[in-house]
């Protein structure tokens, strides 16, 4: 164990980042999204855009903070060689760490697709001189994009529920594969 305060601050930042991403995603989906349906469509669109823009910023900050505080925690517990792959698959702790890093990477990939591919598609506007067929095609394209975004959001929610499971195993023991719910897999 390295410095007491370094470890406590690392855990503190990690918990805040996790709460921002995990809890924030759930609240955005089930509380803010639900309230959005209760106001007229024009205002609902404004509300959706403004809240999504701000939450996207918050979510990216949380993913960045998860990485930094995760590395800090590895140093605090003197397991930083595992981050370079040294002995990562030799213990249940290493397997749990690997699972967390893999899930974090999936969240980053999903976040990148949402931010840089799907959301820009929703923001494009049509000119005034377009025909009915083009308007229909644009609407179909928008609906397809919205459906893709919904699928990614749901996948993110499932992953967001799994990440704390791996984290709880690391914080309170030797990882999921040794003492946790995945112990029967025998990877410890």
């Amino acid at each position: 164990m390295r410095s007491y305060w370094f470890g406590v601050i690392a855990t503190y930042l990690h918990l805040i980042a996790m709460a921002t991403y995990v809890g924030g995603s759930l609240i955005m989906e089930f509380v803010v999204g639900h309230a959005q349906k209760s106001i007229p469509p024009a205002q609902a669109q404004v509300m959706g855009e403004k809240t999504a823009d701000r939450f996207l910023l918050l979510a990216w900050s949380a993913l960045g903070l998860l990485l930094v505080s995760g590395i800090m925690q590895a140093y605090a517990k003197s397991v930083e060689p595992m981050l370079m792959g040294d002995g990562l698959f030799d213990s249940g702790y290493g397997w749990s760490l690997f699972l967390m890093i893999a899930l974090w990477a999936v969240l980053v990939v999903n976040g990148s697709i949402m931010t840089f591919v799907l959301r820009p598609r929703l923001k494009g506007k049509m000119g005034a001189q377009v025909g009915a067929a083009q308007v229909q095609a644009r609407q179909d394209h928008l609906m397809k994009t919205v459906r893709q975004m919904q699928w990614i959001t749901r996948a993110d929610l499932v992953i967001a529920l799994l990440v704390p499971l791996a984290g709880a195993g690391l914080l309170h023991g030797n990882g999921l594969f040794t003492t946790g719910v995945l112990a029967p897999l025998g990877l410890g």
Binding site: L15, A19, G23, I27, A35
Partner: protein, 163 residues
């Protein structure tokens, strides 16, 4: 499993407080007052039960986790015991804040005046809603501050507490 549940419940609670403060409040500036009122009402109705349920889950799973630390650690003579006591204090404060917001501050935001009010009475009713909004904002900030302190206390528990 209890560690997972307490972590998830705390994440939902703290994440909700952060979203309300950092996402919803700034977004309100772009909406008409009437729609803010409707959205706040719908959101508040769902959020208050969710927040109270999460605080209840945190208490139940937190209690289940405590004996795992071993006998003799839950006294005020140990750092761990004092930190747990401070956490319990934060939890009581958070429950009081959520209950206060849910059943006093939140309903005051939607006070409606009768149609036959005098201009003075109408202005007074509007000023009352303004005061209720400021009171709600202050309570939300206090709630977030207490939740962040509780997170710091909780973060120190695996290392033996901090007080």
């Amino acid at each position: 499993m209890a560690a997972y549940v307490v972590m998830l419940a705390w994440s939902v609670y703290l994440g909700g407080a952060l979203v309300m403060e950092l996402v919803w409040r700034p977004a309100q500036e772009h909406l008409p007052m009437a729609q803010i009122g409707v959205a706040c009402q719908v959101m508040g109705r769902r959020y208050r039960w969710l927040a109270l349920a999460m605080l209840a889950v945190i208490a139940a799973t937190g209690l289940a986790l405590l004996p795992a630390r071993g006998p003799g650690t839950l006294t005020l003579s140990t750092g761990y015991g004092r930190t747990v006591a401070a956490l319990v204090g934060c939890w009581v404060l958070l429950v009081a804040l959520v209950v206060g917001m849910a059943f006093a501050a939140h309903p005051a935001l939607h006070a409606r005046g009768a149609a036959d009010l005098t201009p003075e009475a109408r202005a007074e009713a509007r000023a009352g809603v303004g005061r209720a909004i400021r009171r709600m904002d202050a309570l939300l900030r206090v709630e977030l501050a207490v939740a962040l302190v509780a997170t710091l206390l909780g973060a120190s528990l695996p290392a033996g507490g901090m007080l």
